[in-house]
């Protein structure tokens, strides 16, 4: 699921959110989900490409902070958020 891109000599990791550890910070690279309803809902809550994202908790549910919003999501949705990791 890890995809690597080479741009300007840096290697950039796009990683599904559910692969990351807690307190990881990053930038949302893409949202990929078959279910358009889920994508719409995430968008409505301000989860967009280019936004800063912090993973606060993994269990029992994933808790993320995007901008000033805190959102609880399940593993499936976490998997659909692809993140460019800034710091671990």
């Amino acid at each position: 699921m890890f995809s690597q891109q080479f741009s300007q000599g840096f290697s950039v990791h796009y990683c599904p959110l559910d692969y990351l550890g807690t307190k990881t910070q990053g930038m949302i690279a893409a949202i990929r989900n078959k279910d358009e309803k889920v994508v719409k809902k995430l968008l409505a809550m301000g989860v967009h490409s280019g936004m800063q994202i912090t993973l606060e908790q993994r269990f029992p549910s994933f808790v993320i902070r995007v901008g000033r919003t805190r959102i609880a999501i399940d593993k499936k949705i976490a998997n659909s958020i692809k993140v460019k990791v800034v710091s671990r």
């Binding site: 279910d35 809550m45 029992p60 549910s61 805190r70 609880a72 999501i73 399940d74």
Partner: protein, 480 residues
């Protein structure tokens, strides 16, 4: 300030092409640009309105072509452009926002969502909020007081007045005496449902305004996934401990049809309402081991039947995505207003049903159908190892969920029901069909087909499980 958002060029091209196709009459209602944007986002309402138009296929073609030229879905691209503008406005408008520490409520938030501390907090909230406040205080103390007042002060007056107006016993029974509209229907609504539901709404509004409910969903989501539900369903199921009828109504907030069906089903089968819970706990708490067997069996059935329902009910498994607001100290004024508005709505919704139930009981007794049903239930009672006298509890329990349990209490006091029979009867009665009001709401919310399937399963399952439990307790030679 620019009045319009500029979308990526393929979308802008599509917008102007669709705009030119739409006829004049739309201009007065919404701008054509908005309609074009809604169409590009596959809005179902506007699509169905335009489906009949001759130019609709052409619009479809434009949308498909535009989508093919973009990497991301059109919805996503449109939202992204809007969000970008919003971010820009935000940046321009917010001045010198110091990095305020958002950490103030952080420790409390962490306590409530960390599994190690969160689960005990959850259990405490349920124990004090639901069991102690709603079950023991409102369902016990308040109901006893108000119902006692009704039975000793109001009912005798009603009986006398009705008796003096109508000389016929049949008409008297419709309004007064044991199952009359006033003496049963209205008394039940005012004396039992009103205090319990008020307490429940107060507690629920408090939890809602404090921001705790989404945290509860967050904690339970994983467990609920295994029974085919999502964390969101915690809210109707907890409401079910207050009143199953209201909870059945609230299942409409769930996202998928599958989740609504499973939640309705579990509410009908396993979740005891506060009226019932109060009497059963009072009855069984004389024998702690009986209470233990009852609660273990109920939790076991809730989990295993939920697990099976999750496997059987068709549809995509639901996903969970919920905003977690900051924890706040609720404002009392807001809680009271909320409780009042809900109560008013609920009361007018439920009151006609209680009156209807009284009329049904009256008809059933008048036509002799009730006697027939009771006689039909008697062999079932023997099969469960229960005395014949227990049969009416099931029939009347259907009209008043707590009534069945209350009659059991009398049978126990009279020495007719012994320890093991008491446990079997309590389990069977909890599983048995919810009250007539809940059944009516199931019809309303889930439709006739689902209701018939759920109701027949519940009846069959309640009696079969009662039988098995009786056999099992006999084999294990458990005595209470």
């Amino acid at each position: 300030m620019s009045p319009q958002i500029l979308y990526p060029s393929p979308i802008e091209t599509a917008i102007s092409r669709i705009e030119s196709l739409l006829d004049e009459r739309w201009q007065d209602l919404i701008s054509r640009r908005s309609i074009a944007l809604l169409l590009l986002q596959q809005d179902p309402k506007i699509r169905s309105q335009l489906q009949q138009q001759p130019y609709f296929p052409e619009i479809e073609r434009i949308i498909a072509k535009t989508q093919a030229s973009m990497d991301e879905s059109l919805t996503y691209a449109i939202a992204q452009s809007r969000h970008q503008i919003a971010m820009d406005i935000d940046r321009d408008a917010t001045v010198n926002l110091r990095k305020r520490p958002i950490v103030e409520d952080e420790w409390l938030h962490n306590l409530t969502v960390h599994p190690v501390t969160g689960i005990p907090i959850l259990l405490l909230v349920l124990y004090f909020g639901v069991y102690q406040f709603v079950g023991v205080f409102a369902g016990g103390t308040l109901v006893d007081g108000i119902e006692g007042f009704f039975e000793s002060q109001i009912n005798p007056i009603v009986n006398t007045v009705v008796g003096s107006i109508f000389p016929w016993q049949v008409i008297q029974d419709l309004f007064a005496n044991d199952y009359g509209i006033i003496t049963l229907g209205i008394r039940y609504g005012v004396a039992i449902v009103l205090p319990i539901v008020t307490a429940f709404f107060l507690m629920f509004s408090f939890l809602e305004d404090s921001g705790y409910l989404p945290r509860l969903s967050l904690l339970m989501d994983r467990l609920f996934k295994t029974i085919g539900l999502s964390g969101r369903s915690v809210i109707p199921l907890i409401l079910g401990l207050g009143c199953g009828t209201m909870a059945t109504l609230v299942t409409r907030t769930l996202e998928s049809k599958r989740e609504r069906i499973i939640a309705t089903f579990l509410l009908a089968l396993t979740i005891p309402c506060s009226a019932q819970l109060g009497v059963i706990v009072a009855l069984l708490s004389q024998e702690p081991s009986a209470l233990f067997v009852w609660s273990t069996v109920m939790v076991g059935i809730f989990l295993s039947i939920g697990f099976l329902a999750g496997k059987i009910v068709p549809g995509e498994s639901s996903c969970f995505c919920m905003e977690i607001p900051p924890l706040r100290l609720p404002r009392i004024q807001a809680i009271l207003t909320k409780t009042y508005v809900r109560l008013k709505w609920y009361f007018w919704e439920i009151m006609p049903l209680f009156i209807f139930a009284s009329v049904l009981i009256w008809l059933g007794k008048l036509t002799g159908i009730f006697d027939l049903v009771v006689r039909g239930l008697e062999p079932v009672m023997l099969w469960l190892g229960l005395p014949q006298e227990a049969a009416p509890t099931f029939l009347y329990g259907f009209f008043r969920r707590d009534y069945g349990a209350a009659v059991m209490f009398d049978l126990h006091s009279a020495g007719i029901l012994t320890g093991q029979q008491l446990v079997v009867a309590a389990v069977t009665l909890t599983l048995f069909i919810p009250c007539v009001a809940q059944l009516q709401f199931m019809f309303k919310e889930r439709g006739a087909k689902n209701t018939v399937v759920i109701a027949s399963f519940v009846v069959l399952f309640a009696f079969s499980l009662g039988y098995l439990l009786n056999q099992l307790l006999t084999i294990m030679e458990l005595s209470f």
